[in-house]
Amino acid sequence: MTGIAQKLASNQKQVAISEFFEKNKHFLGFDSLARSLITAVKEAVDNALDACEEARILPTIRIRITKVDAQKDIIRMVVEDNGPGIPQKSIEKVFGQLLFGSRFHAIRQSRGQQGIGITGVVMYCQLTTGRTTHVRSKIATEPTAAFVDIGLDTRKNKATKANAGREIWYNEDGSGKEHGTEVTAEMKAKYQKGRQSVWQYLRMTSIVNPHAEIIFIDPDGEKHHWTRVTERLPTKVESIKPHPHGIELGQLQRMITESNDLNLNHFLLNNFSGVTNRARKELCEAADIAGTRKMKTVKGDDIRHLLEAFQGERLCNGSPVKLLKPPTNCLSPIEELLIKKGLSKTIDSRFVSTLTRVPSVTQGNPFQIEVGLIFGGAMAADKPVEILRFANRVPLMYQQGGCLLTKAIESVDWRQYGLDQAGGRGVPKGPAAVLVHLASTNVQFTSEAKEALADNAEVMEEGRKAMLEMGRGLRKHLEKKKKMAKTKEKFELINDILPAIAKKSAEILERPVPELSGSITKIMSAVISETTTEWNKQTKQTDVEIILFNYTTRVRAYTILATWPEKSGAKIENNETGGRKEALGVWAWKLESLQPGEKKIIAYSLTGLERGDWTETEVLFRGSQDVIGATKMDEKFLQEIRRQEQIMEESDVDSQEAEPGSEAVDEPETVPEKNEISEVPTEEGVEPAVAPPEGQRTLFGGEV
């Protein structure tokens, strides 16, 4: 292998590669020895996650880092997955192609790569150690695994391969591996610990990929294991066509040049989202180009005019052409329940609140903000909260201060929500971690390093709103905790202390023990509710019990309401108290009379949930007298739920209407946010059936 390296070193092209790397190492993610290792792991793990996701396999990924030569900083990385595997013929294409053709007109949310993907890792290894990258891969239909050493021939823009062969792939336990890929690469790199480390990258990856099992063995031989907490794979995303609002001149030029469409009418209808038949007509009018023009004849000023019509600078009948919003089913949010699980498994805490906002659009690109807040537990109370930033499920680990997502956190006055924050600005302090995830078809970064999101007013506003909602959730939780502690105290008082006082005073005075009910009513003087939500191991159901006790001297009547995660597919079973559904995810029971001293129990089970999905039921009441342990029903809360129901129905209709060719209706109203804290059920994503795309992907739909 040193032979090859020497040969390459004397090669002219080798110099070119070095220069390419040297010039672009920031953008490629290889600007320091520590970061190079993170980038290498990141590329390999992203590939594994993507491959599993497309093949609908629950990923199990093993990463092992070993120091080969500590003095020369040579490190070996082995990443093994259980993905579908790569056919032998394709291995060199996947690992060795320097630049990929991008299907530029396909836009969708994708993990995207840091720099140039796994090929960059192969190149970096070759340049820093002179060694090739060993790849072993097996697909299910073949009995043996293919292996090969991959290098790079940059002149031909393709892989060099050596030592190719086939072998039986045994697992550690001696069984045969069914399918998967393993990459072994040796590079000049440094392993370090802390906030910017392989460990942190994997930890963050595990949070937003709760369906993945990740096992990491660090250079000290220590094993870090992030377990799979859900069997649910991320929703598959649909590719969407670009929206005219998000198009730039160069892109439009290229699309026109490469177009096979019959004429401009067809071009507009076939290649864009949000363009209805009406809009198509109006765009042509505004651009002052006949729709029947052949594409070959559309050039120069025409293109500029078309772009101006897109952007509303050229008018049709005195106003900008109205376009439909791009469809948002091309986004794959992680979703509230799963973020919650990802956070809870990684960080020990007392409270988790997560929120997925309804998708929104900026400059023709759909995007969606998700946030999570985890509080309490073993986290340090006097340090700034940990910020976990993600773009399209990819952890962002550098340039925290300059990132839009950080700014969204900083824009909130957290003091009102129970966290410390000097002057109500900056990163708050407290035993908490805040997660922010931007899912978008076009993530805009501050620089090619792709580590910090660029400013964008709409994204910022969405992020900020999500934070505020999250903060309210935290405050509610803290208040509830206080209330619950008080209720608990009262129960201790009447159940333990008061009887003891009665007994002891009677003993001392040598009189009979007095009856307590009168004193109890006077002390409590309230109706009290206690709610438990527990996972039942035997039945695999979540059991909920709501107890109501009337500690007043009057008969009371209430309607009791409880939340359940209906949107996540949960069903209420064994509900002997009856009642009826009040709204999406809200059940109601009418209690006609609750006599003084009477106790009533409402019990039911929730099916269709996994353990840990639903741990807290919110209980509300309607009635004139307070119920300790329940929240008075705010009818606005119901209205909000009903409005969301309506939006969800409407948005299904919208996406159908957005299909090109169908006759357009007016632009849909601005979609109000869907905001929930963890107690409230999440929306189950629409899962479109789409064949996995072919070949390599580029960064977030852009070009390399």
Binding site: K490, L493, D496, I497, A502, S505, I508, L509, P514, E515
Partner: protein, 365 residues
Amino acid sequence: MSRTRTAEETKTAMHKVVAEMYDRIVKGEPPTMTLPVRTKTNIGFDKKLGVYKYGKKQSVRDATSLGSAKQLLRTLHVVEFIEEMLDAGKSSTLREMYYISEGWGMGKFGSQNDSNNLAEDLEIVTKCLREDFKLRPEEDGARMIGNLTLRERNRRGEWMRINARDDVGDSGYGVPYNVELEKIELLEHDIDFIMAIETGGMFDRLIENGFDEQYRCGLLHLKGQPARSTRRIMKRMSEEWDLPVVVFLDGDPWSFRIFASIAYGAIKTAHISEYLATPSATYLGITADDIVAYELPSDDLSKKDIEALNAELTDPRFADSWWQEQINMMLELGKKAEQQSLAKYGLDFVTETYLPEKLAELGLA
């Protein structure tokens, strides 16, 4: 002048407290315990007794909160415990009671301070003394030196005659926790006044310099905030022997409080002020004037010191013009000084210059 009650009287008094709780439960109400408010807002000067006593403000401790309910339950346990001791003819220290409460389950004390406060509560509502309850304090009694003679009944029940100058070592006569008539009798003296001293260092300095003999006085070491028995014996000596009492303390807000508790009665024990306070006691020093007049080495007042001084300005016990002036002056100076700061001018300065000058002002030297 003992006010000791019999075991039966004590029990009856305690039963009243228990009956208040019991009767409320029978009536279907939360049990309660009524006791005077124990803050400076509820102490007033009793002209007849010449000391500060609790006023009429009552607070009701009722079982509507967990904390108060637990306090009531503890009270019942304490009553039961005292009854057992009365029946068995035993006594215990407050600290022992605190540890015994470990066995009281939900009625156990949270801290030693809890048990001390509760014993005081019971004293106040029952108008008994803790001696009646057979509860002994842990607190350290004072030391005395001077030509005075008393009789103390020892453990074997024999009376011993002790002269606090001739029959004691350098550490003086140790004042026991019970100084009532059944334990201590004051026999005779040949002194002109009694001087109470805050710190042990100053007490020893005066003894070494032979101050007690030279100025014909009894010296009493207070050990900081004086124990009940210390205040009680001062009161008895002052009344029974008709001797003036002068108090020599550090010059800071806390010393002012010590003096107030000696002369006017402490807020915490205002229910028995007439047995503990010595209204005729005089504050000798260190005063705020002294800091200036003697140019004493001083420290800056801390935030807590300033808070304490401000609180004293509204304390009825410091309402007279001399105290208001002293407190305000100290606030203005922003300084406090220790007794030992007099050593700036040499070891003998206190006995040869400072004290003679101060005593001369009072006509005692």
